[in-house]
Amino acid sequence: MLSTQNVRQILIKTNGESLRKVRSLGPEKTIEFITRKGLKGRGGAGNLTGNKWLEVRTQPGGSEKYFVVNCDEGEPGTFKDRFILENNPETLIEGIEIACFAIGCRKAFVYVRGEYAALAREFRKKLDAAPRSVPIEVVVGAGAYVCGEQTALLNSIEGRRGTPRLKPPFPATYGLWGKPTVVNNVETVANAALAFRDDWRGDLYLFSVSGNVRKPGVYERALGTRLGELVRDCEPSETPKAVFFGAAGGCLKYDAALALEPAAVAAKGAAVGGGVMLGSCTLIIVGESRSIPVVCSSIARFFAHESCGNCAPCREITALLAKRLECSVGASGAAGGFDAKFNEFVAESSALLNTASLCGLGQCATASLSAALKQFPSEFESPAKSQSKTKSKTKIKKQKQADSRS
């Protein structure tokens, strides 16, 4: 279980009160209310949730519409959805009921990533115990990162191979089994229930913090909080050097003054070539003893492993990149070094992936590497700094042993 001491609002149980309010408001007014309150999606894109609901509500097709909760948080370093599923499933369920009532869905699905199978079992028990007005089905994935992409997720629920669909059509018009469908993130849905409380604050987000910190975990903070403040609370184990926004969100040189807010992060990222985003508020803190190329190699391996193989650019280039990086930093940290053409190779790969990949997975696959090359060029000089990495590993091991003894 993750520690709950840094979180307050998301733990509040709404106890059916929000649903009662919603029922007296009626569907249209509910959507209006959600839009007015400014609830935004927490999955990464950050669109107004009310707009998404309204679009599907006004689609023809009667009650043959579906509501899907995306709990396939496969982004490395992200664990906030798991936190909600563990600690406040009741409010999440109420959020689902509110959404179904407002949109006019007759059935909801909660898609839980394969690695959370145990959580899904617990959640099912909670579902069985709670009084419900719509059927809610829990579907457990098979462990593919790409199923977090909403159309791949829909394919997976339908029992098909979890690969992204061609868009358009988008799920709002052609979703589950071809019916209009809303896909919302877990945190968004829980907040939809909380939004009907008078003291709800729409700017409180869950941050998943990991990396070289002594207190990794879920932190509830207002958007705009300075990176330095948050990291101080997490107690860095060494001087921070960089922050990675998951694997797909790119990275920035550590700057304590950075405001943790989508526009600010994107603006800072634009200065280093773009592709950096706060996304689902994942922060992996990388300390000074760490080798950036090694981190990038690990991320490249992740993408090569998770590419669904559907479109050639992503399938071939992610594999090539992973191999290139592994040869350069070495599997065990022994450096082969980067040759002079490495930068050019990455630039070409990024361009191809960006224009030709079918989905976000391929398009984001080089975000971290590109940003790292711009901000930490000296680390990508031959030979790579491999020794510091091995050293740091043993250091951490010793630290861990010391922790467990005390």
Binding site: S307, N310, A312, E316, T318, A356
Partner: protein
């Protein structure tokens, strides 16, 4: 929807809103590359080769629908660079070594379809084709670099759901999936025929004459019967017969079965080998409803090695029958041990249209400038009823012409490319004499058979063809075989029927002779020996 205006390479143009952009661009005379798109089908969008610039963004043309105000650019240095890069990616950076045979246990079906992984670009056209057939034996498995096309649970093909329709090989844009290559065996046999004292006989299925020309620059559907016969003679065949003759025989037998069972029980056609495998794998309970007739290919072969051999005074053991067919499953059929008489296979080598064309090319025969030649006598004479065996609804129409000779010769109600057709044959007073149904494509066939087995529908006669459009769209036909190509071939075959003096099988003088001199009556003991067969369950698949 209506017409909308947009610009293509700077020029104002208009087209139907929502129409496919790639099709429109190609129709405007611009040769846009693109490997995985097939006209009229939902796009796959994987090969990325048809990338164009649309209002400032790079998009694949196949996935874009035409809308007002779009600015489309099909050519620029940047686009050219992108296409080159994509092509390189599809060409693969690392080659995997093995050619994977879908089949690994020694068996009858061994190697009838194989996949060359070195060529496969993972576009998924075969998977879509298999899905359209509602067989779903082929699927993508694994992910990333390990992604590959595979039969379900890596099963060998004869234990899998595959029915050998060959649609995957027909739709593969890079020739990675192929039917078993029997051209070497055929050319070998032709070469050694003289020294071994053998007589080599060819028979050509109805739909070959309207398709093989496409491989040599003729428009789809052009009838090149004469050149086809001439080409076979140039290849060294001693005699060239028409499988249409066998089709006429099939009609004599099948329509007699229909007449016997009319009002009592359903008769389902048995001439499509793909459908036979569907029935044996998926509907063993329906096997007793099948006509026991052999297919035209086997009937022709059986007659060549018995009736004709005797007549000519040739030792049947010294005859090699090579059939040219639009079909991959026919290879499997030709190998069936049941299709033999007097210890001899009915057909020795079965070739697809594509293989036939490859042989012509290999032997450097200039097909287009060949003279028109006629089929050889007796087994080369056929009726219009035999000719239309090559299209969906054709077998039904031919059978009805025989069963109801009092009716006008054409039964227009059974024609057309719809997936499932239902027609009622009425007498002058309007009472129904027979209720027939026709399905083409395995997906439609399964819907129809399910409805019949569930008792929801009742028919006297059902015709099933495993391929879209019947043999005209067969799995062994030239590429591309799209809907418009199938329509053209269909028109070609109906044109042949209309031009024939003899339209009904029973009026064919050759057929009359073979019954008078050899077989006796339809369904006689002699007919049953040479023209009928049996089927067996291959373990029910779900």
């Amino acid at each position: 929807m209506g017409k909308v205006e947009f610009s293509l390479n700077g020029k104002k143009t208009s087209a139907e809103e929502g129409a496919n952009m790639l099709e429109f661009i190609r129709a405007s005379g611009i040769a846009l590359p693109g490997i995985c798109y097939e006209e009229g089908k939902p796009p796959i969008g994987k090969c990325r080769m048809c990338v164009v610039e649309i209002s400032g963004a790079y998009r694949t043309a196949c996935t874009v629908k035409i809308a007002a105000g779009l600015e489309v650019k099909t050519d620029s240095a940047e686009l050219k660079k992108m296409r080159e890069a994509y092509e390189k990616l599809l060409g693969k950076t690392e080659l995997e070594p093995e050619i994977k045979k879908f089949v690994c246990v020694p068996s009858q079906a061994c190697g009838i379809l194989s996949l060359d992984r070195k060529k496969c670009i993972l576009c998924g056209a075969c998977v879509r084709a298999c899905d359209e057939q509602n067989i779903n034996s082929l699927a993508m498995v694994e992910r990333g670099k390990a992604a590959r096309v595979e039969t379900e649970f890596d099963k060998p093909i004869d234990l899998s759901r595959c029915v050998l329709c060959g649609k995957c090989s027909l739709k593969c844009p890079v020739g990675a999936i192929n039917e078993r290559d029997d051209t070497k065996r055929a050319l070998d046999a032709l070469e050694k025929a003289k020294s071994q004292g053998k007589t080599i006989v060819a028979e050509t299925a109805p739909s070959i004459r309207v398709a093989v020309g496409e491989e040599f620059g003729f428009a789809p559907g052009t009838r090149v019967t004469g050149k086809m016969v001439a080409a076979l003679r140039r290849l060294g065949f001693d005699y060239v017969f028409d499988t249409d003759f066998g089709a006429d025989l099939t009609i004599m037998e099948e329509a007699s079965e229909l007449k016997t069972h009319l009002g009592k029980r359903l008769v389902v056609t048995s001439c499509c080998p793909g459908w036979i495998i569907v029935a044996e794998k998926f509907y063993p309970e329906a096997l007793p409803l099948l006509s026991t007739c052999k297919s035209p290919q086997a009937m022709t072969g059986a007659m060549i090695k018995s009736y004709w051999a005797k007549k000519k005074g040739i030792d049947a053991k010294k005859i090699v029958v090579v059939s040219i067919l639009p079909c991959v499953a026919k290879k499997f059929e030709a190998d069936r041990p049941e299709l033999a008489n007097d210890g001899l296979r009915n057909v020795d080598i079965a070739l697809t249209t594509r293989e036939f064309a490859a042989m012509i090319t290999q032997k450097k025969i200039d097909f287009a400038s060949l003279p028109d030649e006629d089929f050889d006598d007796v087994l080369g004479v056929s009726s219009g009823g035999g000719a239309i065996f090559g299209v969906t609804g054709g077998v039904t129409e031919a059978a009805l012409r025989m069963a109801f000779p009092e009716h006008a010769v054409e039964f227009k109600e059974v024609r057309g490319l719809e997936g499932i057709k239902v027609a009622e044959i009425k007498d002058e007073c309007g009472s129904v004499k027979a209720r027939v149904a026709i399905a083409n494509g395995v997906g439609n066939a399964r819907k129809l058979v399910d409805a019949v087995l569930d008792g929801k529908e009742k028919f006297d006669f059902i015709e099933i063809m495993a391929c879209e459009g019947g043999c005209a769209g067969g799995g062994g036909q030239p590429k591309p075989t799209t809907k418009s190509v199938i329509e053209a071939r269909t028109r070609g075959l109906y044109g042949e029927d209309e031009g024939k003096k003899v339209r009904r099988a029973q009026d064919n003088p050759g057929i009359k002779a073979v019954y008078r001199d050899f077989l006796g009556e339809p369904l006689s003991e002699q007919s049953r020996k040479y023209l009928h067969t049996r089927f067996h369950s291959r373990g029910k698949k779900k």
